[in-house]
């Protein structure tokens, strides 16, 4: 587990990698990357499934700011560890006492999560699908 916590929410599976900086508006949770196929969709309160990471090192700040503003994802599932997101979540917890759990899941298991499916992330890092 890259960041601790638990969450129960509806999954949004990103079809392309997304950099939160330049990719998500922290004041609304909306995807703003003009080239992203899911532009206009909202990540706030969802379990965001990211098969791959990319882009800017400012994404830590964007995640922390989204937490402060109340528009952060409920949790994040990744295929590979991502230091930048882990640190964003750690700082948000330290400053605002809000946890965004981030879990690294094997790619074949991550592929089982469908868009719109209910997902639970448990304190111990276990994932259950609804």
């Amino acid at each position: 587990m890259l960041a601790p916590g638990s969450a129960n929410a509806v999954a949004i599976v990103l079809r392309e990698p997304l950099s939160l900086w330049g990719g998500m508006d922290p004041a609304s949770g909306q995807v703003i990357d003009a080239r992203h196929p899911q532009r206009g969709e909202n990540l706030a309160g969802r379990i965001v499934v990211m098969p791959g990471a990319r882009g800017s090192s400012s994404s830590s700040s964007v995640l922390a700011e989204a937490v402060r503003a109340g528009y952060a994802p409920a949790g994040i599932l990744l295929a590979e560890p991502d230091l930048i997101l882990a640190v964003g979540a750690a700082v948000a917890e330290e400053l605002y006492g809000v946890r965004v759990p981030i879990v690294v899941v094997a790619p074949d298991e991550l592929a089982l999560v469908a868009d719109g499916q209910a997902v639970a992330i448990h304190e111990d890092g276990e994932i259950t699908l609804g």
Partner: protein, 404 residues
């Protein structure tokens, strides 16, 4: 220290190692969370323990009149930049610290750099060693003087695992033009993702500006933290050196068709065709070097941008001072060029609002500006951009990309 340990855990490092310098990106305002964080550090009396440069901030502190946004954001952005100075950081406010003679670590030096293009340049071109550090971690490493002993700090992780081989169908004039390099970077980011690639088939001894363009674009389209350009970058004197004597996991061919497609994707405007009217030309992402500022002057050839077209070039304040000294900055301004420092034209609201598309020579600017500042963008070479600014509409170099 807790953040550094958290980073070490995320990277599965067994120990921490000392660094000689840091480059911090956290000084760019992304909302009140960024201020809340640094105020916590300032209030504890923390100071950086190694020489630390700063990345761009939210606004140009030397030319505040360029700001077109709301006063409150400018004030918070400026406050944040000041707080990082108070922690002992050097106010360079540039995304290209590698252009500053006092901020260039040597081959094999361990450092903690943030800002995706600077990270790639540091690892690939300088041969100094940094992981992909981001906001908050960067300043935590600068204060503690420590980084996790993991990832690209270690020799074995710097090995190329994939080879990108350029096809013979790429026209020689294109290999010798700046326009190729950001486009190649976009392809590198897509093909390599987070892997380290060795690019084979480029001319040897590529300029730092071309290597900068590859890295900045690759770190936009992928999570690239390092690449090797065989014959140009210090850990790739030969392909075998880049591979550290082992076989690659994959060898991928990059042909002209794929490069053309990547170039076309950098243009969002419905019509990027010759003759399309433009309102803006933005150059200098990452921050322009002196060579690039001189190239702008050369391509202007004494002309000015057409009426109604804004030509803006972003650079660092230290480079601007050098350009002022040699008279270059004054000559550029006299020809209608606006020079922006401390920030970038896709971060700060500085461009004159225009219903017409913007043109850029930067893969990174083309990638992020549509989402950040809501412009349609047309990608072109520096020459195409400057000549288009003078005409007021898109000019294309007919020989550059071969006949489709």
């Amino acid at each position: 220290m807790r953040l550094v340990v958290r980073a070490a855990e995320a990277l599965r490092a067994e120990r921490l190692i000392p660094i000689t310098s840091a480059h911090v990106d956290s000084c760019l305002y992304h909302g009140e969370a960024t201020v809340d964080f640094v105020e916590r550090l300032v209030n504890t009396g923390a100071q950086v323990s190694v020489p630390t440069t700063l990345n761009v901030g939210a606004l140009d502190l030397l030319h505040p009149e360029l700001w077109r946004g709301d006063a409150r954001t400018a004030e918070r952005g400026k406050l944040l930049m000041g707080h990082y100075r108070a922690l002992g950081c050097t106010p360079t406010y540039t995304c290209a610290p590698y252009q500053l003679s006092f901020a260039r670590p040597g081959l094999g030096e361990q450092v903690a750099w943030a800002e995706s293009n600077a990270i790639v340049f540091c690892n690939s071109v300088l041969g100094a060693r940094t992981e992909r550090y981001g906001d908050f971690t960067d300043i935590a490493c600068a204060i503690t003087g420590l980084v996790p002993d993991a990832g690209l700090h270690r020799t074995d992780a710097r090995r190329a695992t994939v080879v990108l081989r350029l096809s013979a169908d790429i026209p020689p004039p294109l290999l010798d033009d700046d326009a190729l390099y950001p486009v190649l970077g976009i392809v590198l980011g897509r093909r390599a993702g987070g892997r380290i690639a060795a690019i084979d088939g480029l001319p040897a001894g590529l300029s730092e500006d071309r290597l900068k363009a590859i890295g900045a674009a690759a770190a936009s389209s992928g999570a690239v933290a390092m690449f090797h350009a065989v014959g140009s970058t210090p850990e790739a004197a030969t392909l075998d050196a880049a591979l550290q004597g082992r076989a690659p996991d994959a060898t991928l061919e990059i042909g002209l068709a794929e490069l053309r497609a990547a170039r076309d994707e950098l243009t969002t405007a419905a019509a990027g065709a010759p003759g399309t009217p433009i309102g803006t030309v933005s150059l200098g992402t990452p921050h322009a070097s002196l060579a690039e500022l001189r190239a702008v002057e050369r391509e202007l050839a004494g002309a000015r941008p057409a009426p109604g077209v804004e030509l803006m070039v972003s650079t660092g304040r230290h480079l601007l001072a050098e350009a002022e000294e040699e008279g270059l900055a004054r000559r550029l301004r006299a020809q209608g060029v606006e020079l922006l420092v401390d920030t970038c034209s896709y971060i700060a609201p500085v461009l004159r609002p225009s219903p017409l598309p913007a043109m850029t020579d930067s893969g990174k600017w083309a990638f992020y500006a549509p989402g950040n500042i809501g412009v349609e963008v047309i990608f072109g070479s520096l020459r195409e951009c400057v000549r288009s600014a003078v005409r007021g509409s898109v000019w294309r170099d007919p020989d550059l990309w071969g006949t489709p």
